[in-house]
Amino acid sequence: MFKIEEFDIKLDTDVIGRNFYYFDEIDSTNSYLLDESNIKINGSVVLAENQLKGRGRRDRNWTSVKEQSLTFSILLNRNLNAKNINILNLGASLAVAQAIENLYQLDVELKWPNDILVGGKKVAGILLDAVSKGDKIEKVVVGFGINVNQPNFTGKFLIPATSIKLEFKRDSNRERLLSEILNFFESILIQIDKDKSKILSDWRARCKMIGEKIKITDSNGEKFGKFEDIDDEGFLLFESRGILEKIHFGDVSIRR
């Protein structure tokens, strides 16, 4: 069971998570918040122990484990600036990294665009959904999936999976972790409006792929080159045969 009082006591935000919903089971926390008829309050958080239709990017699944993982989504529908949307995306993964570092002193690595790794294995993933009317963004839902207390993983993963328990060598408190992530997330939201470059530099500092030879896999196939940097908008700058290309999406891996 998720102990809401424990979560609430450590929550130090003004907006994010102040409106909080807990579900034993739901189709998808992102889908729930995307449905306008459900919740309209900016900063609302929906947490579910089990998702029947947990999603990753395009068709991929995300598996939640009752009482062992943290699966939640945040609704943002105020002051959204389309030009900052990628910074928000990177910032969400940065918030998770900062929370894990702060609570467990683990060495966290960020993988473009927003995977969170410990010891080269994936401990958390993020999927964002947005709704725009024409060129105006009306809402963004930031979905987080965090492996907290899973003792092991079976099955095949694109990137090997791990949990905080496996890395930290003991059980961790999900309530405390959630409040910590939301605290950092709200700070990052405030930071985005003030100075985006701080978020970009904090993100870069945790990305070990910059400067490395990488492989990018997308629907068109594979391409090989160098992870030059991320640009001011958060896109990956990919260098191949002297030509710099801006990458919008794709699976990035180190080329060995």
């Binding site: 030009k83 949307i85 964002l128 024409g134 060129d135 896109f235 999406f249």
Partner: protein, 154 residues
């Protein structure tokens, strides 16, 4: 010369009375001209053509289209992309497209998805009417404010 600058130049020419414009930077020569003779349909700015003499750094003109239906009225509206990303006409690779040319849509209907860095942005129509053109090919990149759909308003 980068694509962004090129696009800016095209926009400047587009919004001006200039019909032909050329610029040279190093060995890259760019000529932008408005083709005022080939009218595809009434009441909408004609497609602009530009030719580039040198490296293959230029994409096809954004307004070149694959699908269209004849248009009777001049009451046209462009649905534009809010973000830079990749344009998808369907929610998943094997799913049906959200919208087709000829579809009657109402404001708020989902027309497409633009993806950027694991953010899936559903674009709803900001007008009601009939889709007369889909201006972007599926799974190709789009820029800020790039027109995606052309709608003949009711």
């Amino acid at each position: 010369m980068d694509i962004a600058l090129l696009k800016k130049l095209i926009k400047v020419v587009e919004q001006s009375k200039i019909t032909e414009f050329s610029v040279q930077e190093g060995d890259l020569k760019v000529k932008i001209s408005k083709n005022t003779n080939s009218n595809s349909f009434q009441g909408f700015p004609q497609p602009h053509h530009f030719t580039v003499a040198a490296p293959s750094v230029v994409e096809a003109p954004a307004k070149e289209t694959k699908e269209s239906v004849p248009v009777s009225a001049a009451n046209l509206h462009e649905v534009r992309s809010p973000i830079v990303g990749t344009f998808y006409r369907a929610p998943a690779p094997d799913a049906d497209a959200y919208a087709q040319v000829g579809d009657q849509i109402t404001e708020g209907n989902v027309l497409c998805i633009v993806e950027a860095m694991k953010l899936m942005n559903e674009i709803e129509s900001d007008a009601s009417g009939k889709i007369v053109k889909i201006l972007v090919e599926n799974a190709t990149p789009v820029e800020y404010n790039q027109p995606l759909f052309l709608i003949e308003k009711n």
